[in-house]
Symmetry: C2
């Protein structure tokens, strides 16, 4: 995956490991960042496969750079990957794991978690929105932008912004749910609990787990 992420960048213009490192470090939208310790070995691996080729370049500022360019083989592999089927449903989310386990923590802790993620998401959405506005102002909306390259960038930004907004809506809803439960619990305090026995399956274990 990282290999394609690199090849996709190199396809547009030859780049050195250092260039890639900078791209990955500053990219907001583009989730496919990588550490330098991963980039250089990956480049050599791609070269072993014949997907990229490199040559040394004397830089005006600093030491020599090894600059990588895509080969015909690499371009073919990239095209073939772009046309291969994709599975985009399974997403691991640490947040969902914690929400799933929310009954194992005190409500205040859960509310703190939700508030924390809300703040993060708001900041993230603000950055994405600013960037989207900037690029859109400069190159026009994706429908009419003269260079097809900006279409992907703008669409990625729109995707991430819309998903961030949906997440914020959910965070507000979840916060409300927990607050309502806390209010109900303190109202019922002292009264007899209305807790029923959970349903058991044939092995005597609770059934649930979808």
């Amino acid at each position: 995956m990282l290999g394609f992420s690199i090849m996709q960048l190199i396809e547009r213009m030859p780049l050195s490991g250092y260039d890639l490192k900078k791209r990955f470090a500053t990219s907001l939208v583009y989730g496919w960042y990588a550490h330098d310790s991963q980039i250089y070995p990956q480049l050599r691996q791609l070269e072993d496969h014949g997907y990229v080729e490199s040559h040394l370049e004397s830089s005006s500022a600093g030491p020599d750079r090894r600059v990588y360019a895509l080969t015909e083989q690499g371009a073919a592999a990239l095209r073939s990957w772009l046309q291969s089927p994709i599975d985009d449903t399974r997403q691991k989310s640490e947040l969902m794991l914690r929400v799933w386990s929310s009954d194992l923590m005190p409500p205040e802790t859960f509310l703190g978690l939700l508030a924390d993620v809300t703040r993060q998401t708001q900041e993230h959405a603000a950055r994405l929105t600013a960037l989207h506005k900037q690029i859109r102002t400069r190159y026009g909306p994706p429908e009419v932008s003269w260079d097809p390259k900006h279409v992907g960038v703008l669409l990625c930004l729109e995707h991430d912004i819309q998903l961030a907004q949906a997440k914020l809506a959910w965070l507000a809803r979840a916060t409300e749910v927990v607050e309502m439960r806390v209010a109900r619990a303190s109202a019922e305090q002292g009264r007899q609990g209305n807790v029923a026995e959970p349903a058991l399956d044939r092995d005597g274990r609770e059934e649930l787990w979808p």
Copy 2:
């Protein structure tokens, strides 16, 4: 991460590796599935750390099962993890990587990709919605459900459903954008292209990459 995902399940009731395997295989919402080849070593690792303890159980049907239960240490580690700060902004998405690279494929291929993901997402959303309805009908809405365990499940389902819907809205928008571009391109066919030179930064490379 997988360790907490397992401990979180075991906290509720002792489970064997096989039980966990089934849970992970059939879980829809819960992104933290794992292969059996990972589960058994992970369980032994958790036992080495003293987070779980196990004993053999003669099963009525089939061979002996090694059943794991959470220790006090494990419960403490789980609580501590649940209260630790979280970073929930970085998400790697293969779809976004392809969208970012959409200028490297023919528009028809891109439209095919979008259609494919749309179908997957619709099916996924339908399954989630059915499950949500079922659980909500049985145990009530999360605000009032008597057992706090269902709150997390229902909130996870609501999150995933809402995000799937946001994604579908974006997919429709992206499809529209690409179709408009295709229509414009064929309308402009034969005319002089209005392609300007891209902006160059000080190293002579194109600037863009947010």
